[in-house]
């Protein structure tokens, strides 16, 4: 991956504070940009699975940078070492930075040991997006799944992360669930650490 957009590492990094306080842009600006990202990728793929993968890749690079940014800024360089620690870091700290709120819920999967789910009633990136019927279960939340994978991977917790619509009764709109399936070695290490 070309290094564009990497963090400034030069001497002057000490003078320029990494973040000039909480800067914001309008939701519309982000929505139009994200819509263009999706439209561009639609022109580059032949099927929905590929589109989802490309959105995820785009998200992955964002996730990797978010982790670096947050570790420098908030944690004073202390890295999460435990599974629950990194999950709650994603569920609250990362979500707050990206979406201005803590995620609606964080649950452990019931069937499988290695699965966790972060759910959001109205995922920001999906706010204005209506999926055409013929695209089946496609979810632009794949971008957010990529961000989560980027954060987890860079923090040493490799996983497969996917985005799914989950219908909620009494609601016209399904919520989005980010399903995290950790790699074997993460569980083994977690077991070792007791």
């Amino acid at each position: 991956m070309i290094g564009v957009g990497k963090i400034k590492q030069y001497a002057n990094v000490l003078e320029t504070p990494l973040s000039k306080g909480k800067q914001e842009v309008s939701l519309s600006a982000f929505a139009f940009l994200f819509s263009e990202l999706v439209q561009y990728n639609q022109t580059q793929v032949d099927n929905i699975a590929e589109l989802e993968r490309r959105l995820e890749d785009a998200g992955y690079s964002v996730g990797a940078r978010i982790l670096e940014l947050l570790c420098h800024r908030d944690k004073g360089n202390r890295r999460e070492t435990r599974l629950l620690g990194i999950l709650s870091f994603v569920h609250s700290t990362v979500w707050k930075v990206l979406f201005g709120k803590v995620a609606d819920s964080l649950e452990k999967g019931t069937e499988h040991e290695d699965e966790y789910m972060i759910s959001e009633k109205e995922l920001l990136v999906n706010r204005f997006i209506s999926i055409p019927k013929d695209m089946g279960t496609f979810n632009c939340g794949a971008f957010v799944a990529g961000i989560v994978r980027g954060v987890l991977d860079s923090a040493g917790f490799p996983a497969v992360v996917t985005a799914h619509f989950v219908p909620m009764e009494g609601q016209q709109r399904p919520r989005t669930t980010i399903l995290i399936k950790f790699a074997e070695e993460v569980l083994r290490r977690e077991a070792r650490l007791g």
Binding site: V4, K8, K22, V25, S26, Y40, N41, A58, L69, V97
Partner: protein, 186 residues
């Protein structure tokens, strides 16, 4: 009805939903990286970014006009002023000013006070010739075309290339005048 005065950029920005600029910046970074991977030539990436900006401008203009109460975009000077002063603030939360108008008022510069696209960005030397923020020039061009002002928008100064500010030049190419050729085969 006396036309309602256009709302200030700050007033609109304060009244709309916001997101953290970092999400915006990093998502944009992801787009540029994708383009650099998909398209070998940096010049191709510049063109694609401008086109993506144009696609956004064509859609965004409706929201800009509706929310800013700009009554009519007939005069290029007024419109350029509105886009700089209201548009950039309303969408990106940054101020911008319009300067160096040419004699006949068909070319000007928009100087950005700040640019949320470029936080944390350092262009490696493999990207010589890249106009990283080309999406913005496309947005201005697309928006203006929707109010029937064909323009050419280019970067005159780019901080990522060592300049001291971000400056866009907006040149009006064609604006069909109000009166029009009336053809009737009577």
């Amino acid at each position: 009805m006396a036309p309602v005065a256009p709302r200030s950029g700050d007033a609109i920005f304060a009244s709309v939903e916001h997101v953290n600029a970092e999400l915006f910046t990093l998502t944009y970074g992801a787009i540029v990286r994708q383009l650099l991977t998909d398209l070998e030539e940096v010049e191709e990436v510049n063109k694609q970014l401008d086109q993506m900006g144009y696609n956004i401008g064509v859609r965004l203009i409706d929201e800009f006009l509706a929310k800013s109460n700009v009554s009519r975009c007939v005069d290029f000077k007024e419109t350029a002023d509105a886009i700089a002063k209201i548009g950039f603030k309303m969408f990106l939360g940054v101020g911008a000013s319009v300067t160096n108008w040419d004699a006949d008022g068909t070319c000007c510069s928009i100087v950005l006070d700040d640019n949320p696209l470029v936080d944390f960005v350092e262009l490696p030397d493999t990207c010589q010739g890249l106009y990283y923020c080309n999406i913005l020039s496309g947005v201005v061009r697309g928006a203006l075309e929707m109010v029937s002002m064909k323009t050419e928008v280019t970067w005159v100064r780019d901080m990522l290339r060592g300049d001291d500010a971000f400056e866009l030049q907006v040149k009006l190419l064609k604006q069909v005048p109000e009166e029009y050729p009336y053809k009737d085969d009577e």
